[in-house]
């Protein structure tokens, strides 16, 4: 069975991941809505996952996929908890703009 990367090239996956990751960062910085920020974080996670899988194929090694598997589990847990926190913030403040979260101000 042929390695699919022969036709695509690992570097393209790297570029794609980088771009995706940067979009995630951009989203985090650009938006004030906590939910969108969350989504951006998910994009970043996926960028990394994608790279893992690409390299897993490149090295012909399943370990990379195991990592992705775990990272998905963590992402799921993170989103669940994060959204729960957002809900309770929304309940208390009536808004989920991260500008309102300034209780850590020095």
């Amino acid at each position: 069975m042929d390695n699919i990367l022969n036709q695509i090239g690992i570097e393209n996956y790297i570029f794609l991941s980088v771009v995706l990751f940067c979009i995630g960062i951009f989203g985090v910085l650009y938006r004030r809505n906590a939910i969108i920020v969350f989504m951006s974080i998910e994009i970043m996670l996926n960028a990394v996952n994608l790279l893992f899988v690409a390299f897993s194929t490149y090295h012909q090694d399943a370990q990379g996929q195991v990592f992705v598997f775990f990272s998905m589990a963590v992402a799921a847990a993170e989103v669940a908890v994060g959204l729960a926190i957002l809900v309770s913030i929304f309940r208390n403040l009536g808004s989920i703009s991260i500008d309102n979260l300034k209780n850590l101000k020095g």
Partner: protein, 179 residues
């Protein structure tokens, strides 16, 4: 260095890759730029689907399925529910000062440039794309690795999910304020 796809003689795989990559990037952008959070969520779902497509392309069927189940199925539903629960719409979105946007764009450009420069600068030596012939990405192989070598982390992952579940329940329980 940069492998420029030769569109004239593009193979099917290359075409699929370009298409998927295009969708991924565009929807990711749209996720961020949509004013309505629901639209954002929908775009994100599309983005996730295209990533799953990538996985399939890379022959990681199991992960592709899991990805669709977990991300598009579980996580995105959670997002949508939350958005609906909060009744967020465009008006809810706060005004962003210009400086924030500028800062975001600057840092975006900066990090893209930095990462790509690093990548180019590091002069990666791409070896042969060898193939073992074994279908190492099959559930069979993955399952063996996961339950042998990664047994303990696997169990911890389950504990993590359990804890997250309990935490979520506790957090979203309505507190009795001022009583």
């Amino acid at each position: 260095m940069i492998h420029i796809p030769d569109f004239a003689h593009a193979t099917t795989v290359q075409v699929i890759f370009c298409f998927l990559a295009f969708i991924t990037v565009i929807t990711a952008f749209l996720t961020i730029f949509s004013r309505n959070p629901i639209h954002s969520a929908i775009y994100l779902v599309i983005c996730f689907f295209s990533i799953a497509g990538h996985y399939l392309l890379l022959n990681a069927q199991f992960l592709a399925i899991v990805h669709i189940i977990v991300y598009s199925g579980a996580i995105m539903i959670l997002f949508l529910f939350t958005i609906m629960l909060m009744n967020l719409n465009e008006q809810r979105d706060v005004h962003r000062p210009r400086i924030t946007r500028l800062g975001a764009i600057v840092s975006f450009c900066l990090i893209v440039i930095v990462l790509i420069t690093i990548f180019i600068n590091s002069k990666p030596i791409v070896g042969e794309y060898d193939s073992t012939g074994e279908d190492f990405q099959s559930i069979k192989v993955l399952g063996k690795i996961l339950l042998n070598e990664y047994m303990v982390p696997f169990e911890f992952a389950s504990i993590l999910l359990l804890v997250a579940m309990i935490g979520t329940v506790l957090l979203s329980k309505k507190e009795k304020l001022n009583k």
